[in-house]
Symmetry: C2
Subunit: 88 residues, 2 copies
């Protein structure tokens, strides 16, 4: 569970209850985020076992997030620059 | 909903169903992660309205994640280095 990863504040410390509550809320969500990141890593691992290259997949995920026009523009520009510096 | 943010693959393209499924799973989790990041931002915003400094809070969250001994060691070292370069 996400909560298990969240530290307790000192019980009898003079912590500001309101600030503590904000921090704890952030920490709970951060723990959930970390779990999702872990799940994502597992999917890439599973894909790798199935013969897919995780590095390339990450590039694909990034590309699919982009606006199509922006992506094509960028790809065209990369080709131009590659040519310019002799990258074949 | 998280799913709304996930793009559809071309319906009649010759995409590899397995690869597509991996990518879609990753994208779904990435969308959830993005939502959590948004929620976290909102908490910091709420804290700010209540007079707390989000930048300092982020430092506190980072510190609480650290091993206590490691953190104290680092803090001591920072003091030493500050002294060494005349940071007061």
């Amino acid at each position: 569970m996400a909560d298990a990863k969240v530290k307790d504040f000192p019980k009898k410390g003079e912590t500001d209850a309101r600030l503590r509550s904000f921090i704890e809320r952030v920490e709970r969500l951060e723990a959930e985020k970390a779990e999702l990141a872990e799940d994502i890593k597992e999917i890439y691992g599973e894909a790798k076992v199935n013969g897919y290259d995780p590095k390339i997949m990450r590039k694909i995920v990034r590309m699919r997030k982009m606006d199509v026009e922006k992506r094509r523009e960028e790809e065209a520009l990369i080709d131009v620059y590659k040519l310019a510096v002799g990258l074949d």
